[in-house]
């Protein structure tokens, strides 16, 4: 309405606006936290400054190699295994009607089991060794990948499948050029769910039954009433989750480029 509103924004101005959009809310939240923690000081909610101090002190140290990297390593290993297993089994089950009929009820059961139910099991198993910790992550992550892959493979367009058959597309080539790309939107959806489940399982496993890892460290600080340090661990976990999510989205944008662009195209015509 005003003159400023109608004037075309320069590149500098646009960049500034973008930065404001991205950082605006986080800055406001931290500011709110600061004001609250200064106005009403409590033991349990230290000021952002103290948490930041604890952050550099605690995490820019040997903890990176002793706690953070092993945690991340186990998570990625378990996640990758679950991905391979889920996609592999999912393609097999999705492609075969007989296999599907046999496996579907069991899969539905496992899908219905909420992951937190695994906690007692995790505390029993995850303490043992790295293999067990990885297996716990696999056991939680594999279901969304598997079920989504089955769905995606089953829903491969009939005409496209016929086309493939006519032109002699079979075996690994059929998998690579037809089945996997066709199912990739669902597979990626499954992998996205699996990622958040994986992070949760990693932390829970470390909190309840471990001698190392980020989750373990957080619980250790909490028990020792090292509250700023505990908060800094929570921040680490938050940043980690955020980082993984960003990386995932970047990968998704590459793998599903055709799918996303097609969606936009359709949206434009609709």
């Amino acid at each position: 309405m005003s003159a400023a509103g109608t004037r075309p924004a320069g590149p500098l101005r646009r960049a500034a606006l973008r930065l404001l959009r991205v950082l605006g809310l986080p800055v406001l939240l931290v500011l709110g936290w600061w004001i609250y923690s200064v106005a009403e000081p409590t033991f349990y909610l230290p000021t952002p400054g103290r948490v930041a101090g604890a952050f550099t002190e605690v995490w820019f140290s040997a903890r990176i190699t002793e706690d953070v990297l092993p945690s991340v390593g186990r998570l990625l290993t378990g996640y990758a295994l679950a991905g391979l297993l889920g996609v592999g089994l999912g393609v097999a089950i999705g492609s075969s009607r007989a296999l599907r009929a046999a496996a579907e009820p069991v899969l539905e059961f496992f899908r219905a089991v909420p992951p937190p139910v695994l906690v007692p099991l995790i505390t029993l198993l995850a303490g043992l060794d790295t293999t067990m910790k990885v297996l716990v992550i696999v056991s939680g992550c594999v279901w969304p990948v598997l079920l989504n892959t089955v769905e995606g493979v089953r829903a491969v367009d009939e005409v496209l499948a016929d086309t493939g058959r006519c032109f002699g597309l079979r075996g690994p080539a059929r998998l690579r050029h037809l089945v996997l790309p066709a199912a990739s939107p669902q597979i990626m959806a499954g992998l996205r769910q699996a990622l958040s489940i994986g992070i949760i399982l990693m932390v829970i496993g470390e909190m309840f039954a471990s001698t190392s890892g980020i989750g373990h460290t957080v619980v250790l600080f909490q028990r020792g009433f090292a509250i700023p340090e505990m908060w800094s661990g929570i921040v680490v976990l938050g940043l980690l989750g955020f980082g993984f999510s960003l990386a995932f989205r970047a990968a998704e944008r590459r793998i599903l480029a055709w799918h996303l662009a097609r969606g936009e195209e359709r949206g434009r015509h609709a």
Partner: protein, 292 residues
């Protein structure tokens, strides 16, 4: 090249849908045969049985003497739902190239074939686009390019020009005729457009409505060189079209059971029927005169 004998197909499920009752005809090597019939009479079903994508419930299909049990090698199909038959995650070029890869055509020859086919359908510029970025008619042309790049011995097409505008349609029809003449590929083309069937086909097979049988197997005695304007305005063209039209109307009107199996067998074993023609020679001379 194609022998279809006693072909019947009944889909399973709720009581069973009898799509085809008994279809008999053959297509010689290098011939171009059009199949017309009312909507829903089983044209697509027939084509899918020939392509080895559906198992017939009666009779059999033979391609080059071999009984069809799955998609035979050297056969290309252009589907009615062309949009769904293109791989959306591949560019146009990759779509056309993929079957050639599977056929183990060496890379340089592959590139050549793809370029030629895309140029033939007028899509050389769209090679890098994805199918969903193209209009319906362009997508259809990609599907056609893919089929011709494959250099098939048998080409099956299911209403390949149904979704394009009249202008493009005429162009694609002529393109098909040119390619057919150049490659000598045995072609079976399904359409519901009577004009198109008469214009393109050297024979027209008229299917009845369900229960579907071959209503008529008609030789098109128009000169081999066809042209959108002269051929379509020729008196003989009008006669043939009127004849096929009457046949289809009759097919729709006819009740299911009033022809005996004996009748039908007698008709089907007979050679392609000729419509009494006043003076096809005249027409021929006229066309020849024009080209000379």
């Amino acid at each position: 090249m194609l022998e279809i004998t006693g072909l019947g197909k009944t889909y399973e499920g709720r009581g069973g849908v009898e799509a085809l009752r008994k279809i008999d005809f053959r297509v010689d090597g290098g011939d171009l045969v059009c199949v017309v019939g009312p909507s829903g009479c089983g044209k697509t079903t027939l084509l899918k049985c020939v392509a080895g994508l559906l198992t017939p419930t009666a009779g059999e299909v033979r391609v080059a003497g071999r009984r069809v049990t799955g998609p035979p090698p050297g056969m290309a199909v252009v589907f009615q739902e062309y949009g769904r038959s293109l791989f959306p995650w591949m560019t146009v070029r990759k779509n056309v190239e993929l079957p050639l890869r599977e056929k183990k055509v060496p890379a340089p020859r592959r590139r050549e074939l793809v370029e030629e086919a895309l140029a033939a359908v007028g899509l050389a510029d769209a090679a890098a686009a994805h199918p969903w970025q193209l209009s319906g008619g362009m997508q259809q042309r990609v599907a056609i390019a893919r089929a011709i790049a494959y250099e098939p011995r048998v080409l099956l097409m299911d209403e390949p020009f149904a979704a394009v505008d009249a202008q493009t349609r005429a162009e694609l029809e002529d393109l098909l005729l040119t390619l057919w003449r150049r490659l000598g590929v045995t072609t079976l083309l399904v359409t519901h457009d009577i004009d198109e069937a008469v214009y393109l086909g050297r024979r027209v097979i008229v299917l009845s409505s369900a229960p579907t049988v071959v209503q008529e197997d008609l030789a098109v005695d128009l000169p081999a060189a066809r042209d959108q304007i002269t051929t379509r305005s020729a008196p003989r063209f009008a006669e043939l079209r009127a004849h096929v039209y009457a046949q289809i109307k009759q097919a729709k009107g006819r009740a299911a059971g009033d022809r005996t199996a004996g009748d039908r067998a007698a008709e089907e074993s007979a050679p392609p029927r000729q419509v009494p023609s006043p003076a096809p020679r005249d027409l021929k001379r006229k066309t020849d005169g024009r080209t000379r």
